[in-house]
């Protein structure tokens, strides 16, 4: 049974260039990798190594913190520095810089791999959570939230395990290729998660335009009565957003400010499930991921399996370099990805794509803003049921109290509103600035409250 989610748009998917290109490892591994120790917010963990130390592939460099998954060496070599480095979200984060020696000498696994034949019945939920924590697995759809915390919050509270294979952003094919080429890992990882949550069913949501991926997944399952269900969804953006996927697959809504577990659901990306599979059966921590390198400015668009921390420019080089001057380089998809100004920023656990877009592809998003017509398309497009037109208006006028009343913090910045705006108003930009204004007002109020 399919439910709807409100709003959404239908962007051109532009996946053709890479959807049939097999995942390839890098021919020339990166000379150095940059591994951040924290996300956009939160404290960084205590690094276990210091500059000059020798490290091997998969060695633990920094244990998990409450906001950030454990960090492992993604190549073998020496620690060049531990310093703040520019990240793809636009700021700096304390990072471990590794000089690659090219040997990929593996570290001794910190846990014993499970046998493929007996598992997952042999593993207890606690053991699985422990492996997920030790392997440093984080949400690979973009959020990069530590997977073990998600599992922790979900154990005993959820009755629906959902796997996110929607990949609704244009250009992105990393998850699609993973599902097509490693369906056994996706399904196997799903079964491990089911075991961990003591559920006997799981649903993988895949957009219907990925025929080969759906076929590959279904081949792993019995025709009827399988424990994992592959459900095809009509392509629509932002279907791969956690809350919208929950609404689509279960009809439930996550209460504001609560976790999906509070609605009895938990969602993992298919790539996360595959990482769990690798961690449990091969005892390898999360040190690499599939990244789509695409866009008209890229000479040979590819799906690359790259070590985490690889600078974006190495990915571009691996994909044949530029064939046209790019106007924007994005880390992530075109709807939510961040535009880069420096290509030394690293691939992280949540980076699904690097796109080099020429000006013609961005059109008409780069046209000048016109006056708002009040056509209401942004309201119809908003999957969160907000009113972007008024958020924009109040944010521009600095009327912060009204912004709070319109629930501006509920905005997921999916960009559906700005996509459909005929006047090309930069609604997401305004909303971000509005959120910032609201945050600083709240901080000020808190500060005054504390002083008084």
């Amino acid at each position: 049974m399919l439910h709807g989610f409100y709003g959404g748009v239908h962007p051109a998917d532009r996946k053709k260039t890479t959807s049939k290109v097999k995942i390839a490892a890098m021919e020339r591994p990166p000379a150095r990798v940059v591994l951040p120790l924290c996300g956009q917010d939160g404290e960084s963990g205590e690094p276990l190594v210091k500059a000059g130390d020798k490290v091997s592939l998969g060695q633990l460099l920094c244990p998990a913190t409450p906001r950030f998954a454990a960090v492992h060496a993604s190549v073998s070599g020496t620690v060049a520095a531990i310093e703040p480095c520019l990240q793809s979200w636009g700021g700096k984060a304390l990072s471990i810089v590794l000089e690659n020696d090219g040997k990929d000498a593996p570290a001794r696994p910190a846990w014993t791999p499970a046998s493929r034949r007996d598992a997952p019945q042999d593993l207890t939920p606690g053991e699985i959570v422990d492996i997920v924590r030790q392997a440093g697995i984080a949400g690979m759809g973009g959020g990069a939230f530590p997977a073990y915390l998600k599992l922790h919050s979900a154990i005993g509270r959820v009755d629906a395990l959902l796997l996110n294979g929607a990949e609704c952003e244009p250009y992105l094919t990393a998850d699609e290729r993973l599902m097509e080429e490693r369906p056994e890992a996706v399904i196997g990882g799903t079964r491990l998660l089911m075991r961990c949550l003591a559920l006997d069913r799981a649903v993988i949501g895949v957009e219907g335009n990925k025929y080969a991926a759906v076929a590959a997944l279904r081949k792993q399952l019995p025709l009827r009565g399988g424990d994992v269900e592959v459900r095809t969804l009509r392509a629509r953006y932002p279907q791969g957003s956690e809350k919208q996927l929950i609404q689509k697959l279960t009809g439930r809504r996550v209460p504001t400010g609560k976790l999906p577990a509070d609605a009895g659901c938990v969602v993992f990306n298919v790539a996360t499930a595959a990482a769990v599979y690798d961690a449990v059966y091969d005892a390898v921590p999360l040190t690499r991921r599939v990244v789509t390198v695409a866009g008209s400015a890229v000479a040979e668009p590819k799906n690359l399996l790259v070590p985490l921390g690889t600078p974006l420019e190495d990915l571009i080089r691996e994909a044949g370099g530029w064939c046209a001057p790019p106007d924007r380089v994005l880390a992530g998809g075109p709807m939510m990805g961040a535009a880069q100004f420096d290509l030394s920023t690293p691939v992280t656990k949540g980076t699904s794509a690097v796109l080099g877009l020429v000006a013609a592809e961005i059109k008409p998003a780069n046209r000048p803003e016109g006056p708002c017509l009040r056509c209401g398309r942004c309201i119809e497009a908003c999957p969160m049921g907000l009113e972007p037109v008024y958020l924009h208006l109040y944010a521009d006028h600095g009327r912060v109290r009204e912004l709070a009343g319109l629930h501006i913090m509920d905005c997921t910045e999916c960009g559906a509103c700005a996509y459909g705006c005929p006047a090309r108003i930069r609604l997401v930009h305004s909303i971000r600035s509005g959120k910032q204004q609201l945050r600083s007002l709240q901080e000020k109020n808190r500060g005054e409250g504390g002083a008084g």
Binding site: N366, G370, R377, E387, C421, H429
Partner: protein
């Protein structure tokens, strides 16, 4: 600005000269996501509205009233464009005539006028619509009243030319003036509580007296269907508007009406109701943006239209009804606020 590229190349010596293809791009744009957009633009939406108005205009000029209908429409559109151009020049603003919204206003205003209206009256209406109603409030998107309707209502100041309508199928050539034989409009009969002398078929096809563009229900519905299919307008406002009028006319016909269904159909097809419901009430700028707000607005327009048609001193009430509801659009938006995803319904928790 010119210093930026050089500074960049200074910061990063060409350490990867050997693989020239991977060289750093000269200039990258940084902007907020999303980096893609749909194709619709303001100008295309306006163009679609103009296309939707064409069937009614072509039949008016070629069949109902003669070439004068074309000339009145052209004068009105050109007048609106000229006033907007001159206003922008005089106030040294960026030129905005390219969005074609002035043309839409001009054509819609012409549609509400008698086909034999003197040209100077058209231009007075254009001036009021564009300069007073639209530009003085800040231009497109800022006006709170529909400019075309406000211009039309302003022209009620000239009752002599505005209350007589030429009979349909009497060919008006370019020089025709108010001397043309005028005919009773169906609206006048309805206002007196009687069924008009036209058959329902004539009403539907447009063989009846009335304003330049409002006579043919069929052609207006055709234009409306085009707008709905092109997703320029949503059905919410027209359906609520026409539905309210239909229900009220069906259940509360005046005494002496034999067939309430027939009375309802006459009500729906006469006067400017269809033109108003499809093209005027759906004007983006002056209608609410929220779904529930649009429902309230459509129902409000319908209630007021029936009220004004029954009790007003003018036979027609559409223009006043829509203008009054325009003024309430922002209030409707506040009442019609959508419930965000995951927010609970109870008011107590929402207040927290």
């Amino acid at each position: 600005m010119s210093g930026r590229p050089t500074k960049k190349s200074e910061q990063r010596p060409e350490r990867r000269q050997e693989d020239g293809a991977a060289r750093r791009p000269a200039k990258l744009t940084v902007a907020s996501s999303p980096h893609m957009a749909g194709r619709d633009s303001t100008r295309m939406l306006m163009l679609d509205v103009l296309i939707a108005l064409m069937p009614a205009l072509i039949f008016s000029g070629c069949y109902f009233f003669g070439p004068r209908a074309f000339v009145v429409t052209a004068v009105s559109a050109a007048g609106c464009l000229a006033f907007e151009l001159l206003f922008n020049l005089a106030t040294r603003r960026a030129q905005t005539i390219g969005d074609l919204s002035a043309v839409v206003t001009g054509v819609l205003l012409a549609f509400t006028l008698p086909a034999d209206v003197p040209y100077w009256v058209v231009l007075v209406g254009d001036f009021f619509a564009i300069v007073i109603v639209k530009q003085l409030f800040g231009g497109l998107g800022k006006n709170f009243m529909n400019p075309a309707l406000a211009g039309r209502v302003f022209l009620f100041s000239f009752p002599a030319v505005m209350s007589s309508f030429p009979a349909v199928r009497q060919w008006l050539d370019l020089g025709s003036t108010v001397d043309a034989v005028s005919a009773a409009t169906p609206m006048a009969a309805l206002h007196d509580g009687a069924v008009p002398a036209f058959t329902l078929q004539e009403m539907f096809t447009g063989i009846r007296g009335g304003s330049l563009g409002e006579v043919s229900a069929a052609l207006l519905l055709l234009g409306g269907a085009y707008l709905v299919i092109r997703r320029v307008i949503r059905l919410r406002i027209p359906v609520c508007y026409l539905g309210t009028v239909a229900l009220l006319s069906y259940f509360f016909p005046p005494a002496g009406v034999a067939d309430p269904l027939e009375w309802m159909l006459y009500q729906l097809m006469s006067g400017g109701l269809l033109l108003g419901a499809v093209f005027m009430a759906t004007d983006y700028v002056t209608s609410p943006v929220t779904r529930m707000g649009q429902v309230y607005y459509g129902v409000g327009c319908g209630l007021l239209t029936v009220f004004l048609r029954t009790y007003g001193s003018y036979p027609e009430g559409v223009a006043f009804a829509i203008l009054i509801m325009n003024a309430c659009a922002w209030a409707f938006d506040k009442w019609g606020k959508p419930r965000p995803y995951g927010r609970v319904r109870s008011r107590r928790e929402a207040a927290e």
